[in-house]
């Protein structure tokens, strides 16, 4: 499991690559812990970019639920964005699309976080105007 992070104002964007399943969920939970702590301390957002995530199992969904709960307790929030079709189906079947904030695109997630986060992201945009 590969996780790359970027920061836009009070938002941390973590891009997860691969699969979150019984084999990798503990690793993901460990990797997310400091990001949850950082976003929580800033009362900001942790945005999980799933554009390169191929699959998530029940144990992976539980990791997201725990992170969301921890962030809520610190007046921060978890956002999930750019789900691939299979992962989007798993979210719908599990009803996790009803208990987590899910957006189609990264800029939509950042807009939900704060205008500053969205603006910071747009400062990095390519000439076509879309977020990188």
């Amino acid at each position: 499991m590969e996780i790359a992070t970027r920061r836009f104002a009070n938002a941390i964007v973590a891009r997860l690559v691969g699969r979150i399943d019984h084999a990798t969920s503990a690793e993901v939970e460990t990797a997310l812990a400091p990001l949850v702590a950082e976003a929580g301390a800033a009362h900001g957002c942790l945005v999980l970019d799933f554009s390169a995530l191929d699959y998530i199992s029940s144990v992976g969904l539980r990791v997201l639920m725990v992170a969301a709960k921890q962030l809520r307790e610190r007046q921060a929030q978890l956002l999930v964005t750019a789900l691939q079709p299979v992962v989007a189906e798993i979210f719908a079947i599990s009803r996790f699309n009803r208990i987590l904030s899910v957006t189609a695109r990264l800029d939509e997630a950042l807009a939900l976080c704060s205008p500053e986060a969205l603006a910071a992201c747009r400062d990095e945009v390519d000439p076509s105007g879309g977020p990188r």
Partner: protein
């Protein structure tokens, strides 16, 4: 050969199809009939067969009771929910006055799993033998208490059959009536037990009222082994995964997603969704079934897992 007959499939408490529910089915059927020939009985039967199950039938409302036929004369039954009553009536019709032996395995003692006993006709018939198996300490007392005043007007003295109560040790295989039976401790309020039945090379796992904590790999491994290569796993899929890990965490039930994952890891051949949420109507259960089949499809490994949803009256041959 094993054959599984579902007599009660609903969780928590019995439900009944309402007048509004029947009307909705009629409306849906009549809409589907528009423009189709209905002149002959064959036309009518073809139309009915073309309708979704939620329109032409119902998942039913009896609480847990599942019969496992093994080809022998003895009856094997899981739980004594309200579905035990129609099972008992069918057994009497099938065998008439001949003495019968019933082996009944209790998952646990919550009301919806024992409420059928006072209405179990074979227990009233002299010559019959009713063997009740459980793993809980004092389970006989719990059954007797159900039929004491003021909860019920007649106690066990009304039963003319020979009733026996046998406590089983979980985690051990027991030979009962020619069938291998292995109970397994499950996570549920007050504990529950699943059962694995093995006969003539076939295996059925009955695993209801069982919550699966997702942060305990050793728990998962234990159930994967319990379900290993089963021909059929009857699985508590009462809640969505989101509910099961959030607002209904620790309520002692599981989800369709965990059912698919455990069966896939175990190499089971067939999953049957069971212990349906009582607030779900037929359309809702049918939607859960369709979604579960889709999940199996998009997560399929080396071999497919057949997925069905139990309904009162469903029979599955193995």
């Amino acid at each position: 050969m094993m054959r599984v007959h579902f007599w009660g499939t609903r969780g928590s408490l019995p439900v009944a199809l309402t007048a509004d529910g029947v009307r909705e089915k009629l409306q849906a059927a009549l809409r589907a009939a528009r423009g189709r020939p209905l002149d002959t009985e064959a036309d009518v039967q073809r139309l009915i067969a073309s309708l979704p199950f939620a329109t032409q039938g119902t998942y039913g409302g009896h609480t847990s009771c599942v019969q496992i036929e093994t080809g022998g004369f003895d009856h094997f039954v899981c739980d004594m929910g309200s579905g035990l009553r129609p099972f008992g009536q069918a057994a009497m019709q099938q065998h008439g006055g001949a003495a019968q032996t019933f082996h009944i395995f209790l998952s646990h003692l919550h009301w919806d799993h024992i409420m059928g006993l006072p209405f179990f006709v074979p227990a009233f018939v002299p010559g019959n033998r009713v063997m009740v198996y459980g793993c809980h300490d004092g389970f006989e007392a719990a059954l007797r208490r159900q039929q004491e005043e003021p909860s019920f007007p007649v106690d066990f003295s009304i039963f003319n059959a020979r009733l026996e109560f046998v406590r089983l040790a979980p985690g051990q295989r027991h030979e009962i009536g020619g069938v291998g039976v292995t109970p397994m401790l499950q996570r549920h309020g007050g504990d529950s037990y699943g059962y694995r039945f093995e006969s003539q090379g076939k295996s059925v796992v009955y695993s209801t009222d069982s919550e699966h904590p997702l942060d305990q790999p050793q728990h998962t491994a234990r159930f994967v082994e319990f379900f290993r290569d089963a021909d059929l796993v009857i699985f508590d899929a009462m809640y969505s995964l989101a509910d099961a890990v959030s607002i209904k965490a620790d309520w002692g039930h599981s989800s369709n997603i965990v059912g698919v994952e455990l069966c896939q890891m175990a190499g089971a051949k067939r999953l049957c969704l069971f212990h349906h949420e009582p607030v779900f109507d037929d359309a809702a259960i049918e939607a859960v079934l369709a979604e579960t089949r889709r999940l199996e499809e998009i997560t399929r490994g080396a071999r497919p897992l057949q997925v069905s949803a139990a309904y009162d009256g469903l029979e599955i041959g193995l």
